[in-house]
C-alpha cells in the first residue's frame, strides 16, 4: 500500500493535500471538519490585526455551463482577534496531533511586530508558519502582502526577522504578480526561509456588469482589483512552481498552489517539484469532501506506477523541462484522423485553416437530410506533407481518441537550435547587452 504521507521541512503530513490559507480555514470548526474529512494539513486564514471586510467579496468566471473556472476575491485576512486564532490552533493541534497546522501570518513591516506574532505562533503549537507576502489587494495598499512580496529586499528582510524568532519551519508564500517569481524565491531562501509556497492570487478584475457598468464583485456599485485563483490559473502556477524548483538559488521545499481540485492536479504539481499542494477554490466550491477522492486517486495512481511513496513523485518531470533551444528540431509528428471515430464537426479543419497552418482539407458539405436517406459521412483530410505537427486539430477535436499525433521518422539525426547555431558558427543565444549597445533590434 503506497505511503501518501509527505515530509515537509521535517513536518509529517498524512497526505500532501493541505487547505490553503483562506475562507475554508477561518475557524477551528472548519479546520477540524476538514481533518475529519481527510485533509493532511491546513494553513490557517492569515492572522494579523483584525480587519473589516466588504460585501460583496467574490466574483467568478464561468465557462459555458461550468461554474467558477476562475474565482476572484477582495476579502482580506482574518477578521477575528489574534488570540482567538492562536487559541483555536492549539485546540486543533490537541485533537489532531498528526495533521499539519500552519499559521499564516501578516503584520505591519516592523521587526517587533513580526517577531512578536512569530513567538505567539511558536507557542500555539502550530507546526510551521507561512508568511503571507502575496495578498494582492487591500493589504498591499497598507504596505503588507504583495507590497512586501514584490520587493526582494523587503521580503528577505522580513524573512530574516521571522527566522530570528521562529522555533518552527518558516514558509514564505509568494505573489505571482512579479516579473520573475524564481528570483523572489531565491531572495527569501537566501534570507533563511525553510520553504516557499506559491502561487498566491493574481491581480484581476473578474468582470464588468454590462448594465450597471460596475466591476464584479461590486461594493455599492464600485469595485477594486482582487486576487484571481481557481482552475483557470493552474497552468501559470505549474510553470511558476517548476521555475522555482529549477532555480539553483531556491532549492528548498515547495508547497504548490493554484487551481488544484483533483488528485491529477496535485500529481502534476508534485512532478514539477512541489512537496505538498494547497487547495482553496475547489473546497470553497464543493466543500471539504473532495479530499476523499483526491486521496483515493493518488493512492490508485501510485499503485499503478509501482511507487511506494508520494514523495517519489517530487520533481520527477523537472529534468524534462528544458530551454527551447535544447529541443530536437528533427522530431516530427503529424496528425491522424480516425475516420471511424470522426463525427464530421469540421472543427479541426477550420482551426487549421484559419488558426494554424492550412494542412487540413474538407469538402463542402452537401445539403442532406434524413428524409432522403442517410447523411453521407464527412471526414476532413490531413495533408501529411503539409502538417507541421502543431497539435491544434487534436486539441479542438471534441471526440476522445479521434485525432492522434503520430511520430514520423524524418531519418535525420537529432539537432537542437543550439547545435544548429553552433554549426553555423553563430552564438546560440542573443546577448541582450550587445543589442542594447547597438541600439536595439528594430534598428538592425
Amino acid at each position: 500500500m503506497p505511503d501518501l504521507s509527505v515530509n515537509f521541512c521535517g513536518v509529517r503530513s498524512p497526505n500532501p493535500f493541505w487547505l490553503a490559507s483562506g475562507p475554508p480555514t477561518n475557524t477551528a470548526h472548519q479546520v477540524m471538519h476538514a481533518f475529519e474529512e481527510g485533509w493532511g494539513g491546513a494553513v490557517w486564514k492569515t492572522i494579523g490585526e483584525p480587519i473589516i471586510n466588504t460585501a460583496s467579496r467574490y466574483g467568478a468566471v464561468d465557462l459555458k455551463n461550468v461554474r467558477m473556472m476562475g474565482l476572484n476575491n477582495i476579502e482580506l485576512i482574518s477578521d477575528r482577534p489574534i488570540e482567538v486564532n492562536f487559541r483555536e490552533i492549539s485546540e486543533v493541534k490537541k485533537r489532531f496531533p498528526h495533521n499539519a497546522v500552519i499559521a499564516s501570518l501578516m503584520v505591519e513591516s516592523r521587526r517587533e511586530s513580526w517577531q512578536e506574532i512569530t513567538h505567539r505562533a511558536n507557542d500555539s503549537g502550530a507546526d510551521m508558519v507561512e508568511l503571507n507576502f502575496g495578498c494582492p489587494h487591500g493589504m498591499s495598499e497598507r504596505g503588507m502582502g504583495a507590497a512586501v512580496g514584490q520587493v526582494p529586499d523587503y521580503a528577505a528582510m522580513i524573512t530574516a526577522w521571522v527566522k530570528e524568532a521562529a522555533t518552527i519551519p518558516v514558509i514564505v508564500k509568494l505573489t505571482p504578480n512579479v516579473t520573475d517569481i524564481a528570483h523572489m524565491a531565491a531572495a527569501v531562501a537566501a534570507a533563511g526561509a525553510d520553504a516557499v509556497s506559491l502561487v498566491n492570487t493574481f491581480n484581476s478584475i473578474v468582470g464588468v456588469d454590462l448594465d450597471t457598468f460596475s466591476p464584479c464583485p461590486q461594493v455599492q456599485g464600485h469595485g477594486s482589483h482582487g486576487g484571481y485563483c481557481g482552475p483557470a490559473i493552474k497552468p501559470i502556477a505549474l510553470h511558476m512552481v517548476s521555475s522555482v524548483a529549477r532555480h539553483p538559488g531556491a532549492q528548498i521545499p515547495i508547497s504548490g498552489i493554484g487551481g488544484v481540485g483533483a488528485w491529477r492536479d496535485a500529481v502534476e504539481f508534485m512532478l514539477l517539484g512541489a512537496t505538498s499542494v494547497q487547495v482553496c477554490t475547489a473546497a470553497m466550491h464543493f466543500g471539504f469532501r473532495i479530499v476523499r477522492e483526491m486521496a483515493a486517486g493518488l493512492d490508485e495512481y501510485l499503485r499503478e506506477k509501482g511507487m511506494a511513496s508520494a514523495m517519489d513523485l517530487i520533481g520527477r518531470s523537472l529534468p524534462r523541462i528544458m530551454d527551447w533551444g535544447d529541443l530536437n528540431l528533427n522530431y516530427k509528428t503529424i496528425a491522424r484522423i480516425d475516420a471511424e471515430k470522426c463525427i464530421g464537426c469540421n472543427l479541426c479543419y477550420i482551426a487549421c485553416e484559419d488558426g494554424a497552418h492550412q494542412c487540413i482539407t474538407s469538402d463542402a458539405r452537401p445539403a442532406a437530410d434524413l428524409r432522403h436517406g442517410p447523411i453521407p459521412k464527412h471526414v476532413p483530410k490531413i495533408l501529411d506533407d503539409e502538417c507541421v505537427g502543431c497539435n491544434l486539430c487534436s486539441l479542438v477535436c471534441p471526440v476522445p481518441g479521434c485525432i492522434s499525433m503520430i511520430e514520423v521518422d524524418t531519418g535525420r539525426p537529432a539537432m537542437t537550435w543550439r547545435q544548429l547555431q553552433e554549426a553555423r558558427g553563430k552564438s546560440p543565444m542573443c546577448d541582450m547587452r550587445d543589442l542594447l549597445a547597438k541600439g536595439g533590434v528594430a534598428g538592425d
Partner: protein, 460 residues
Amino acid sequence: MALNHPAPRLSPEELERTFADINPPLTRAQALEEGSRCLFCYDAPCIKACPTRIDVPLFIRQIMTGNTVGSARTILDANILGHSCARVCPTSVLCEGACVLNAEGKRPVSIGSLQRYSVDRILDSGKRLFSPGPDTGRRVALIGAGPASLSCAFELRRCGHQAVLFDSRPTPGGLDAYGIAAYKMRAADVQREIDMIREMGVDIRCGFTVGVDVSLAQLESEFDAIFIGVGLGRTDRLGVPGEDLQGSVDALTFIEQTKMNGLASVAIGRRVAVIGGGNTAIDCVTAARRLGAEEVYMIYRRGPEDMTAFAYEIELAKKDNITFRWHTLPVRILGNSSVEAVQLICTRPGPPDASGRHAPEPIPGSEFTLPVDMVIRALGQQKKVDFLSTIPALALRKGCVVVDPETGQTSNPKYFAGGDCVNGAAEVVDAVAEGKRAARGIHAMFSINSTVAGREASHA
C-alpha cells in the same frame, strides 16, 4: 354532428391538460445547458439539413452569449416562420437528425427547442427586427396565404416590392393555422407570427377566392408577378359505401375544428377509427384520445414498416394507447344515419406498385366488423388541378406545378410557385424555403427587367 355514442365531454380544464404543449418551452437554465452542448461545427450539417438554411450554430452561440435578439434575427432572417417551424418541424429527420452528436451515440442538440426559446422571446417582446426595403413600385399577387406565400411575401417586402395575398379562408396561415395538431401549436400562436409579417406591409386579403372574387386576368393586369401558393385540396375519399354517414369526417376538417372552434365544442365518438398511416392520421388518433375517445383504432392497409408517419409520431400514438390495425382496409361504413361500425378486410402484401412498396391485396373472406362511432379518413390530399389548369401555359407534372429549381419560376414566366402545390405535400419548412426561393426569383426577374427597361429608355 350527431354521433351514435358520443364520448363524455371533458371539462375545459381537462382539455387544456390533455392538449398541453408536448414540447414545453425551455427555461433560461435549460436553454443554457442545452446550448452548451452545441459544438459550433463549421459548415454545419444542421444548416445543410434545414431547407431554409438557418445558421443553427450561430443562433445557439448567440443564445449562449446572451444575445437573444440577435439569435432570433439569425433564425427569422433565414426563415420568417421560425416560430412555427420550431414547433412543428420533424427535427429528428432534419437539423437534429444531422447533428454530429448522433454519430457519437449522444442525444443531438435540441435545436427545435432552442429555436423556440429564441423566437418566443422576440414575439413576446413585440420587438420588430426587420423593415421593408425602399418601395420599388413593383407589385406581386400571391394566391393563398399559407406558409409558402407568407414567406415569399416577407422576402418581397424586404426587397421593397408590394405583396398582396389572396386567400379564400377567413384567416391566413393555411395549414399552419388549420392543420397543425393543437398540442404542437395553437391557432393564436400562428397569428402572432403572421402579425409580424403583416407589419412589414404585407397586404393579406382573406375571403377572396381567386377565380371567383377576383379573376386571374385581373391579377395579371394589376400585378407584375404572381406567386402560386395554393397548397392542396380536399382529403381523398375512401370510395366505400357509407362514407357520407354522420360521424364520417375527413382529417383536415377534424383537425381544423380542434384549432378554430375551441376544443370543448368538438364532438368525438366513444370509439373512433382513423384510416391512414401518415402523420395526419397520427394527429387524428392522438387528438381523438385527447378529446376523450375511449377506443381509438388506426386502420392501415400496409404494415408498420410502410407507414409514412415519422417514427417519433408513431411513438406518440403508442403512448396514447392507440390500437393499430395493420394490414386492414375499410370496405364499407355501416350505420343508419350515423356511423355504427366499419367493415374491414385483411390484406397481404401483393406485388410491388409504382412506389416500390408492396401493394396491399385483400384476402378474400377475411372481412370483419369493428363497431365504431366515428370514422376519420386521413388519406392524402387532392391536387388542385382544376384551379391550376385555369392558369395559362402552366406546366403540371402529376398534378404538381413544375418550377425552375433555382428560381421557382413556372412555365408561365409571370407565375412563380412554391409549397405543397409544387412539392406535392411536405413540411412547413419546405414551403417557407420555396416561398423564399420564389421571392428571390421574382426579385431577380424584376432586376433584369429594370436593367433592360433602363437600357431601352436610354437608347430611346
